[in-house]
Structure formats: structure tokens, C-alpha cells
Symmetry: C2
């Protein structure tokens, strides 16, 4: 296809999301069952003849299936991981067939709280099953089967996405060759859970929340979701990157002695909070934070992460960022240590970056170079070496 | 006085708050004037004959005048700094006369938003002047004068209290001999301001806030103030101390797949949030966070902290805590560096502690020992050396 001029050459171009329907019931960890559901996804690149060049992308808390390219010529911004997906990029669409989905419980087309429940003809709302990382992995296995992919070259994710990649390697060792875990953690700390809890309380105590049935009241828990997002943003950036970005700069040059925006950082946070409300669902936000809190693959192995990883067979690339205080390098190193305890093949890179947790989304040269070099070394059948 | 058995021997015992009325108008930095006001305060120990043994305690964001001892025999807990104030303690009431006040804008008896405005016969509410650290210092000077104290042996404070001590040393060099600045900073970072802004938004977007006039509606912005306090608590503790205190412990031993409390840390935060609402005023909380944001004594000196501290004459003790990520040791070191640039007398201690910012309130032996030793070396006229 010929791309219009304004889409960059190394973009995957215009992309159309696809939908896969499932009618085999899916059992959730919480005990609930969905009899049928759908998953929306996008693909970039071409699946090769023997279906051996597919990579699965797992998204983070507020992510979705739209990881690369543009949905229309009017789009101001490409998908959330466009820095890493495209021709010549680390996840090179000249070689790989890349699949990116919106997880169950999401709000961008896959079955979730804002989907109509066929049994009630109303949105699921708070009656949607609480989802876990394990549940997502099970649903992703089915998506792979529907697409004819029995083994992925790699499963790749940042943050909560990295946790899904790790869970794949534990639960389905035969179904992936490489596992790329970026800016993740083997489990949340008490502080991480505490931030999530404040966000949840902000949403759930908003009078417009109506116990999660706000759709039925034509309402949105706007203030709660805005607060959750503002708070989230603080944890995605580093103290250093906030200083670099905003310092103590006053929006109007001088102190106004009032409660309107005075410092630039306040303006930024309010904007981020407000614009999030227009594109995200509060019930989905609650579900995503719970999946984060629950994730702890070592729990079933007497809290021994090395035991949890004893039977993985994938080769691992683990990447952390120096200024990430949400999931710090120490957390990534716990994963690396558990893998080396088991003499698994693991490459680990701690990237020097001041961007905080958000670094995994940024075009940081060292990060992209290391990631590219690692992916280039992966052999696919049928390719000239 | 003979104390009942259950009050510890090294306590200042039963304490009765006192009130000082002022009728000379007070000008605030924001341009507003209060024609009359009152300050509530407590004293511990005895003022000596020449009034040369007085120490002023400045409180932090949610503190008040009740720093030591008990208000009644039924009190479960003593004042907020009982670890440091009392016979034989760092601020030794056998030697010093200690004054602790509730700042203007507070909610515990000093004139503030919940005080009746004589001009309207309604609470000031949001019409109370925005207060700054400078304003507080000016009001504290008057309190000292009312008590017959023209020079303090020391002015002492932790966190926002430390900022007041620092401002005293800059604005009134002749009126203090020693300045003790604990767990403080010469100015907030963008991240600090960001956390304050989320707290303010939580309060101000609460439908029960009524633009600050909630008293008139018999309402309290309960959820907003609760969220602000929960968030505050995360920043007062360290990741490490939260791990030590709660880990990932589940309240009922197993995952319940719901949005009620599951992890111990959630239970703790909700409790802290709820109990705060019963003892604190939302408008005061807003004012205190603004005073924090605005504090920046170097601003008037072309952002040069050394220039701001060029004319201080007090001897300084600066104390920081290793795990304090709210006001980290680096921030204290900026103060120390600016003082040594000017060849001022300064002692600096970085105390190893896992408690985070809250460490300044804790009975950490190294901290109390250093603090005690420093205070013991201070000579007071009339004492045998």
C-alpha cells in the first residue's frame, strides 16, 4: 500500500483493528465463567508460511490493542508503542508478524465492564469477573490458536504487560521461544498496592460511581478517575524527570495566592487527568489495578520465585530503567536472579534513563539499540542467516 | 505536681493549652489583613528569671500545639513529639521552657478557616487568608513578644516545621541562637507539589466541599480529606517501612476477588484516612499544602540559597533520614551547603532509618542521642557548666 506523505516511512501505516469471537466458555481464577466473549486485536507485518514469526504484545494498565500505526489520516498520534514496532524497529515488521490485543476487562472493544451482558442486556459494569494475569494469559492462548499460532517467537510486554509475558513463560513453556520483560516486577510492593488502593478509593467514593453501575445512571465517576490518573502519572514519572519537565515554574510567572493552577506541574496533571476520563472506563481501571495487586507467581511455589521459574524454557530479555521507582531495577533483578538460579538463558540490561517508569515507552537510543540487537539475533525458519 | 501512676515518669504530664489574643492587625503575604486573631499554645518546663531558656517548636502539616504530655488521664496517646520533649529528653524540660503553638490557619484553636469571622458571624472557610511560612513566622514573633521572650535559645521543627525554623533564621537573625531543621527542604520539588495538588483536587472536587463553605451546609468533604490523608501517608512512609510493616499480607489469609480490603496495607490506609477526617479540617489541609508549595526562601535572592542564608547568625543543627523520599537527605544537604558556603556554624547528621519521612517523630536511638547531645551543649545563663 502507498502511504500518504504525512505518515512516517518507518510506520506500520494505517491499521484496522480486528475482532475475534469466542464461544467456548472461559473460566476465570475468581470462579466465574464467561460463556462467550470477544477480543479485539491488531496485527502488524506478515505471518510467514509456517506461522513461525509471530510475536505477541501484552499491554499495561491503561494500554490497549492499538500499539502501532494510525487508525486514520487524522490521528495526531500513533499507537502507544510505535517507537518499538515497525519496519527496522526493535519489533521489526519486515521480519515479524506482530499481534497486539486489548485484554478482557478492557474498554476498547474486548469484552469488559462496558460491554453489554447478553444475559441482562445491560453493561456488565461491576459484575464483570475480576481478572488476573493468569486469566489474560489463558485468553491469549486461545487468541493465538484462533490465529493459527501454536508457538510465538516472543511474548513481549512492559510493566503489567511484562508480567503477562512472565506468566506465559511459566504456564505455557512450549508456546514461546523468547520472553521479553520490560520495567516489570515479580510482584507489587506494599507501596505499589497502597497507590492502587488510593486510586480505587478515589473512583469508588465518587458519588457518580453508583457502585459501578454508572452507565445505568448516564453518569461517569469523572473526578475519581481523574484523581486516579493524576496519581498514576506521578508514579510513572521520576522526581528527576518532573524537575526537568516542570521544575517549580509558575504558570503565570508569579504567585497568585489561590487554588487555581499556579505551578506548571499542576496544569500538566489536571490536563492528563481530565483527558483520561474521555478515553477510559473507571470499572476497567479498577480491574487492571486488581490484576496488578494479585500478580505474584511465586505465591503458588511457597513464595519462592526460583521454584516458580524452574520449568521455563524461553530465553529471557529483562530490561529495567534506573529512575523507575514504580518497578525499580531491583525488582527486575529478582526475576533475573531467579532465572540464573535455574541456569536459564537470560540477558539483563539496566538502561540509564531519567524518565521514570514511562521510560519503557520512550525512544531512548540505548534501550532501542539493545532491544533491536537482541531481536535481530533471533532466528526464524526460512530466513537467510 | 504528683502524677497519677499511668503517666510515664519522663512525661511533661498533664498539660492545659493556653490562648493568646492579638488585636494588632496582621498583614499576610497575600495582601490580606486580619484585624484580630488568637493563637493557642502549650508550654512545657519553666521560663527562667531572665527569659533566656525558651525554645519554640514549629509544627508540620497536620500537627498542632499539643506536642507533649497529656490533656487528660483518659488520653490514649501523648502529644505528637513526646519522644523528644520532656525531662531528660532532647528538648529537656528540666532546662528549657518550651513553647508549642498551633499556627494561624490551623484547626485546633488558633484562628483559622473553622473560626467564626467576626465580620460575617460565619466561619472564615475559604475566605481565610492564604498563609505562608513567612506569615507564620511573623505571627510567632508576636507570640514570643507576648510571652516576654525577645530571643529564643532555639527554634526547632521537623518537615514544614523545619521550614519555619529556617525562615526565622533568615528573617529574624537576632531572635534565635540555635536553629534545628529536621527532615526539611529549602523548597518543594515538582513531585512534592504534584502530590499536594492531587490531595487538593481530591478535597476540592468532593461534592461535599461546597467551594470551602461546607460548614454552612452542615457537610464535610469526608472522601476528599480521606483520600488526601491516605496519599499523604504513602509519602510519609518508605517503601521499605511499608514492606516491613505490611508486606503483601492478606487481611483474611486468602484472595477474595473483590474490592473490599484484601491486603493489610489497604486496611491501614483506610483507617488512617477515616480517622483523620474526625480530627482535621479540610480548608486547613488546603492552606498547609499551599504554604509548603510556596516555601522557597531563595526565590527573593535570585534563587541563590547561599545568598538567602548569608546573614543568618544562628548555629544550625540539620538532621535528615536515609529513607525519607519526601524530603530526602539531598534536600537537607542543600541547606547545609548553603550554610557552609557562608562559613556558618552547622552540624549535619544523616540518620540511618527505614521509617521514611515519619522518622522525625520516631524514637530512633541514634537520632535522639545526637539531638540530645547537641542540645546539652547549649549553654544557658545562670546554669552551672
Amino acid at each position: 500500500m502507498t502511504l500518504p506523505e504525512k505518515i512516517p516511512e518507518n510506520s506500520v501505516g494505517l491499521i484496522m483493528p480486528q475482532v475475534q469471537h469466542f464461544t467456548e466458555p472461559l473460566q476465570f481464577d475468581c470462579g466465574r465463567v464467561l460463556d462467550s466473549y470477544q477480543i479485539v486485536y491488531e496485527t502488524y507485518g506478515q505471518l510467514n508460511a509456517d506461522h513461525s514469526n509471530a510475536i505477541l504484545i501484552c499491554h499495561a494498565l491503561s494500554g490497549d490493542h492499538h500499539a502501532a500505526g494510525y487508525h486514520s489520516m487524522d490521528d495526531k498520534n500513533p499507537g502507544w508503542w510505535d517507537n518499538c514496532i515497525g519496519p527496522g524497529k526493535p519489533l521489526d515488521t519486515n521480519r515479524f508478524f506482530i499481534v497486539s490485543l486489548n485484554n478482557l476487562g478492557g474498554c476498547k472493544g474486548s469484552t469488559g465492564p462496558n460491554t453489554i451482558n447478553p444475559e441482562t442486556n445491560k453493561p456488565y459494569g461491576p459484575d464483570f469477573p475480576i481478572v488476573t494475569v493468569n486469566d489474560w494469559v489463558r485468553s491469549q492462548v486461545r487468541l493465538g490458536e484462533a490465529l493459527g499460532i501454536s508457538q510465538w517467537v516472543a511474548i513481549v510486554g512492559g510493566s503489567l504487560g511484562g508480567m503477562q509475558a512472565l506468566q506465559w513463560a511459566i504456564d505455557y513453556p512450549d508456546r514461546l521461544r523468547y520472553c521479553v520483560v520490560i520495567a516489570a516486577t515479580p510482584k507489587l510492593t506494599a507501596q505499589n498496592i497502597a497507590f492502587n488502593e488510593v486510586s480505587r478509593q478515589a473512583i469508588m467514593t465518587d458519588p457518580e460511581f453508583y457502585n459501578g453501575h454508572y452507565y445505568d445512571h448516564n453518569a461517569i465517576p469523572r473526578q475519581g478517575l481523574m484523581l486516579a490518573r493524576m496519581l498514576g502519572h506521578i508514579t510513572y514519572l521520576s522526581d528527576e524527570s518532573m524537575r526537568a519537565k516542570f521544575g517549580r515554574e509558575l504558570r503565570e510567572g508569579k504567585i497568585k495566592f489561590g487554588f487555581d493552577v499556579e505551578f506548571q506541574v499542576e496544569s500538566y496533571l489536571r490536563y492528563q487527568g481530565r483527558s483520561f476520563v474521555d478515553r477510559f472506563d473507571a470499572n476497567t481501571y479498577l480491574l487492571m489495578t486488581k490484576a496488578l495487586d494479585y500478580f505474584d507467581p511465586a505465591r503458588e511455589y511457597s513464595h519462592n520465585l526460583s521454584a516458580a521459574l524452574a520449568h521455563v524454557t524461553a530465553n529471557f530479555l529483562v530490561i529495567s530503567f534506573t529512575s523507575d521507582w514504580r518497578f525499580s531495577p531491583e525488582r527486575s533483578e529478582e526475576i533475573v536472579r531467579a532465572l540464573t538460579d535455574n541456569k536459564k538463558n537470560v540477558n539483563y540490561i539496566e538502561v540509564k534513563a531519567h524518565h521514570g517508569h514511562d521510560a519503557f515507552l520512550m525512544p531512548i537510543p540505548h534501550y532501542l539499540n539493545v532491544f533491536s540487537a537482541y531481536m535481530r539475533n533471533i532466528k526464524i525458519s526460512g530466513e537467510n542467516s
